[in-house]
């Protein structure tokens, strides 16, 4: 490490003074200004930034909601209704927070799928990917505990069912469940600790997101071609090219978000959660929030209690070892015609699981859930390892710059410096 003040390149004297002592401006400039980024991102590469923005929105609305929320079984439901009715713009904060959870999962699902399609989990980005899976798990825990807080029927019974998953653990399972509850059923102690953890976990997520981005900035971003940049002609500075491209995606994203919040705020929720929790009456159809449905379907597909729980956790756990299951050296599915078909089938199986997770666990639905579950695991555990050996990938392009220029048609020399005009 160099001693003495950092030599800053900034002109503004205040910025320069701070930067010489704490080079945050240099850091930002390096990581988000001039950071060399592959020039060929498509709009799928927006979703990391969108997830980041959503996390900030969730934390901001959450902090303001918590100023009015009361984590007590007698007051929780009423305090939420008070937020909706009496607190100034309370309805807006709550609906943004509530639908923000759904938006967060939509964004993260697409972000993960982007990684699957373009092989972003492969060397050297294995750790980056695994940190992402950790974030996903933390998100699920946070979302689950957040859903309990309004203390409606679905809150209560969702909490009961999910905490009871742990009773499947041999020997110590029942003790763990009592420990989670802080009592002999889901009750006030449970609500209190869930509120506490629901407030805490997002900040843990922020920490892991920081590591996720730090790891990203070591390896650099993957890109739709899945080949490494070979030189400066293959990269562009992050700013302004990707800051503005992310901004375009962000505005479109906000429009979808706004339609949900302002015109169909309860569309993704369940009406039963507007019935105050009643520990004596289980609603006829209990379903988790839509983003848990695929995993819920896997749980129900197995006739054995422990087996179902194990398989459900394994459906996410398998993502941790994915970098070693996929043995193909080619990252992007663009050049893997066979694997691409199997991945699209996997995507279908994911949606089928989501659909069947909301259906009653009986008859044909169980068979469908089992088939989809089987394929979900088959893809990761058998198909990918085999395809790495058997598949013949298409020839990879020479470099990133070449196909972009080729796709853009013949350009006159020096066109790089001339701004193009759109009519």
């Amino acid at each position: 490490m160099a001693t003495g003040p950092h030599t800053s390149e900034f002109k503004n004297p205040v910025v320069r003074w701070i930067d010489a002592r704490l080079p945050v401006f240099t850091l930002m400039q390096k990581e988000y200004g001039t950071f060399p980024t592959p020039r060929n991102f498509n709009y799928f590469w927006n979703f990391g930034a969108l997830a980041m923005v959503t996390l900030v929105i969730m934390i901001a609305t959450g902090i303001f909601l918590s100023m009015h929320y009361t984590p007590h079984v007698h007051y929780a439901f009423d305090s939420v209704e008070r937020i909706m009715r009496d607190v100034n713009y309370g309805w807006l904060l709550r609906y943004v927070h509530m639908n923000g959870a759904s938006m967060f999962f939509i964004v993260v699902f697409i972000h993960i799928w982007r990684g699957l399609y373009y092989g972003s989990y492969k060397a050297p980005r294995e750790l980056l990917w695994m940190l992402g899976v950790v974030i996903f798990l933390l998100m699920m825990a946070t979302a689950f505990m957040g859903y309990v807080l309004p203390w409606g029927q679905m809150s209560f019974w969702g909490a009961t069912v999910i905490t009871n998953l742990f009773s499947a653990i041999p020997l110590i399972g029942p003790d763990i469940v009592v420990w989670l509850w802080g009592g002999f059923s889901v009750d006030n102690p449970t609500l209190n600790r869930f509120f506490s953890l629901h407030y805490l976990l997002p900040f843990v997520i922020v920490g892991v997101v920081f590591l996720h981005i730090a790891a990203l900035h070591v390896t650099g971003s993957n890109n739709p071609l899945g080949i490494d940049p070979k030189g400066p002609q293959d990269t562009i500075p992050f700013h302004p090219y990707y800051t503005i491209k992310d901004s375009v995606g962000l505005v479109v994203y906000f429009m979808v978000f706004a339609v949900l919040v302002f015109f169909m705020p309860n569309y993704l929720g369940h009406p039963d959660n507007y019935i105050p929790a009643n520990p004596l009456v289980t609603p006829p159809h209990i379903v988790p929030e839509w983003y848990f449905l695929p995993f819920y379907a896997i749980l129900r597909a197995v006739p054995d209690k422990l087996g179902g729980v194990v398989l459900m956790f394994a459906s996410i756990g398998v993502l941790f070892v994915l970098p070693w299951l996929d043995t193909s050296p080619v990252r992007s599915m663009r050049f893997r015609p066979v694997a691409r078909i199997f991945l699209l089938l996997w995507t279908v199986s994911f949606f089928v699981l989501m659909w069947v997770g909301a259906k009653p666990a009986e008859g044909i639905y169980i068979t469908i859930a089992r088939l989809a579950t089987a394929y979900y695991f088959l893809y990761f555990l058998v198909i990918l390892p085999l395809l790495g050996r058997l598949e013949r990938p298409l020839p990879l392009p020479e470099s990133i710059a070449l196909p972009v220029l080729r796709g853009g048609g013949p350009l006159p020399a020096g066109a790089m410096s001339k701004p193009m005009e759109k009519a």
């Binding site: 339609v259 015109f263 705020p265 989501m354």
Partner: protein
Amino acid sequence: MAVFRTTLKAAALLAGLLSAGPALAAGPTVPLPDVRFSFDGIFGTYDRAAAQRGFQVYKETCAACHAMRQLSYRNLREIGLSEAEVRAIAATVMVMDGPNDEGQMFERPARPSDRFRSPFPNEQAARAANNGAYPPDLSVITKAREGGARYIYALLTGYTDPPEGVELMEGMYYNAYFPGHQIAMAPPLNEGQIEFHDGTQATVEQMARDLTTFLAWAAEPELEQRKRMGVRVLIFLTILGGLTYAVKRRVWSDLH
């Protein structure tokens, strides 16, 4: 063109996720009647006169069994009642207050800031008085039932004689839209049972529509402000989106 393809794919993904919504819950078995309300659609607002009539129906009919504990009398200002009218309505109800200086609870006429008085002190009392059935709180009822306002309207107008072969249990009534069709609530609305202040004919359909409007307002008092704000936000975002996209094209133009 790759960008277009991927964008389309993203849109398809989103659409898929959104369409998973209605699949979440098994809806009522009978299709609901296709009624329209003043508060439907992105510019919808509550018909104030209907909501006021609906409040009258609630007060004279439903309030005997159903609480609306999330509402205060002051909220009635929002459906167009004057300060004096709200005061007068509140003053006709006695609410519990206290303890006073002697440590006793006492009853006093309600003020606008008081919550709607519940007909029963607790769920047990409500069940005891209603043959074991619990008349649910109506504060958020249109949000708490699959089908929302449309379902409430259907339920209120859906009482019929049981079809051939259906044996009703003691004290139950047949309703085409209630899950299981056997409901403990007697038909609450009967032709002409209310004399509306504004002279509207009190048919069952009219009362059901007015009551539903009132209940929808009670459940979502923020609806008008929300939709108004939503329209503005979307207009703003459309313009901002156009501008941002134009900047993006310009920034990227020197790369191509």
